[in-house]
Symmetry: D2
Amino acid sequence: MNPLRSIIATAVGALSLFTLTATIALAEDGGLPDPGFQIVAGETALLMTDPQNDFLSPDGVAWGVVGPNVEAVGTVGHIDDLFAAAKAFDMPVFVSPHYYYPHDHGWKIEGALEMLMHEIGMFDRSDALSVDGFEGSGADWLEQYKPYIEDGATIVTSPHKAFGPESNDLVLQLRKRDISKIIIAGMSANLCTESHMRELMEQGFEVMVVTDATAAAQLPGLDGYAAALTNFRMIASHVAETDTTASAIRALADN
Amino acid sequence: MNPLRSIIATAVGALSLFTLTATIALAEDGGLPDPGFQIVAGETALLMTDPQNDFLSPDGVAWGVVGPNVEAVGTVGHIDDLFAAAKAFDMPVFVSPHYYYPHDHGWKIEGALEMLMHEIGMFDRSDALSVDGFEGSGADWLEQYKPYIEDGATIVTSPHKAFGPESNDLVLQLRKRDISKIIIAGMSANLCTESHMRELMEQGFEVMVVTDATAAAQLPGLDGYAAALTNFRMIASHVAETDTTASAIRALADN
Amino acid sequence: MNPLRSIIATAVGALSLFTLTATIALAEDGGLPDPGFQIVAGETALLMTDPQNDFLSPDGVAWGVVGPNVEAVGTVGHIDDLFAAAKAFDMPVFVSPHYYYPHDHGWKIEGALEMLMHEIGMFDRSDALSVDGFEGSGADWLEQYKPYIEDGATIVTSPHKAFGPESNDLVLQLRKRDISKIIIAGMSANLCTESHMRELMEQGFEVMVVTDATAAAQLPGLDGYAAALTNFRMIASHVAETDTTASAIRALADN
Amino acid sequence: MNPLRSIIATAVGALSLFTLTATIALAEDGGLPDPGFQIVAGETALLMTDPQNDFLSPDGVAWGVVGPNVEAVGTVGHIDDLFAAAKAFDMPVFVSPHYYYPHDHGWKIEGALEMLMHEIGMFDRSDALSVDGFEGSGADWLEQYKPYIEDGATIVTSPHKAFGPESNDLVLQLRKRDISKIIIAGMSANLCTESHMRELMEQGFEVMVVTDATAAAQLPGLDGYAAALTNFRMIASHVAETDTTASAIRALADN
């Protein structure tokens, strides 16, 4: 028996919100095991990647390629639901933003989407030590999330600079608070959200992803959202939709 | 003008093997820029992830889910072609293997595919300090690659333990040899190959992926190969097939 | 009041083995606070760096420069005492070894002691996939520690390649077992032991160091042991000697 | 012959500014090899850690413990000399600052000096997205360095949060500009400066430290500066004083 099971069975103060599916041997029916995920008070946090205008506002520079998916999935409302549920439960909330400064435009090495983001001025700020022009810019938070993010409790990390948290303080901030279980949502699905999922797992966190509180760029022949759904399911410990996740968080608050 | 262009234009001793496509503004036609990739002697290496029996041999434990894709793509032969081209050119070759030891089966936290790999005994070795039973096992190299890997020049890193190189010495070994440009191939596409691509980019390497010298698990509703192709194109500096890549490497050798 | 205090005060199942010293304000008497360290069953591990012949055996290649300090401090016996105490308590034990392979001698970039270690053949092994000539070599465990390290429970990580665990799987292995508190000992004090302490703290672990279960090279004008003692005290959450530490571990076993 | 030598011998466009000392075998006279360091245009950067008021101004909260060493070593002027030399040569300059936000005071795990820094309010800022009260605060740059840091060319990274650059974007920013050789100076010697040196070496950079353009806390029985000098010499590829280093940088500018 996998040790994970017995650990979970004896967890104290945890809500068994996601039923562990039986592990189906691959040889039998092609199924993939679902390790499951328990929300444990004091150990679990909500992580939101890039809840910023350039992805989520119709005025954002990336709206042309992500907007249709954001609207089809209902991403803006689902992210709001997760924020609200976490705040109702006093679950720690972490936000990992994406900012580019003028000097980032001097990089000699760029991947395809890095090149694109720089060319369209995505997430641009004038300087790390200035907020001139920041309010309402593409790099700013989506307006409706500001009450959650600016409540004095949400922990905003330094910006990630590629796609994952390797270049910011997210892992340290989580560990300094004894957080080991992460519920991930935010933008964009196959880029920063997925790179955060992958890196947090490399660092030994237990991770689940909320599949309809994210969205991605969809270009001809390149469906970022479909790619992300595949990888979330194959790699994370669990995937679930917003309704299930938010209900579980609220149920824990009622305990 | 993007600084990448002028850098490349003035590179000395490099072969302009991949023509830089014109960067097409997103707003105009939905195109994605292709930063391109130059093979520069002394700065470029071939990286092969998991060229091991459990993925690539019909006797491997994962063959049931990856075998059809391996055969359809021609992965085994393409990996061989890349190894041969790199060796003909004396291009540095790095291999990042995947091994699990008995103690790894005691992990309390597992993702879906980690749980599966442990359950089917994938990449299992008896001990880091023993090679008893290793020869010909699922963790061993595919037999036809041994002349390349065991030639005394190929650098085999410590095993990665999740999917990316965060837990081994790959980045250090590359940097200790002034390698900054990486051609990635190997198994499996959306897991270890993609996690290596992502992490090497987080570490500032310039990366291209050879899209038909890899393959992935394909499960009902979960096409790992399609997911990987999307992410390779969106994230890396360039993607190409084996023929183009091997020809470019050989052309450099002829200079 | 620092939140650390209240956390510790309410910890369940933990042994208050190190009395927290009162935090003395710097301005008053130049004192340095001592955050203290609690051994909590299931969360705490013993980490041993480089318990290998080249440092600890009179036949080791580095004995000339570290031997006098090893003997003066009583390092060999103290490391043994810690191993014994941890095994008596079933405390998880991790060992992070140091190995160099032939390809490591091709590094183009070296620090002073890296250059020296390569020149004297320290920690050399013939190949990661061979143990020919390993038994009894400078890279092998000190003979008297083998019963502890080879008991089937001790977790031996991949080798670190510079001084810290950045290039091996130590952090992942600890996190995959929910270990967040580390008692560090081993060789050598200001190099691998200290680099492990620093990196584990960067990763958010709570760390204490056993100051007489380590030792260092002492060269004219360069006292590695004195440097390490200063940095252990300034940086870690606590320092203690072997007697105190081993007693605390054993007391927990008696609970 | 060590491969480092031949590489250096054939470097193009580099200034042989630090004579490589002969490598003295340890067995003969206890000497430590000095790998040396070459300043290569386009590959070499100056890195300054924590050039901030709390360490370097008589009004800073840490002046009581570091001030005497800062004055004895002449640190403030030497840092200025290095900045001036680098700017005269157009050498890339990176600054890695240290900031704490209100949420950092909620860490459950702290080392000794982390606890102290939080207690004395060192490097405190009100919020990452606000500069209210920042001007002239302990977290601000020492006034005389502002012309160098705010010239539009200096790259200021995100803040490091423990002591090393693991939690910021320094490594990525360096690599994105093809920088592989680092001249390190700044505050404080055995904490952030040394942790930056160690981590950059773990990442495969070639590193030298300017030993009189730094300083450290000196407490009864705990001389941070002496500890740092020992570790700089043992670990880095080279150490030198400001005069030698600045002259070498300026000589390169004159070529």
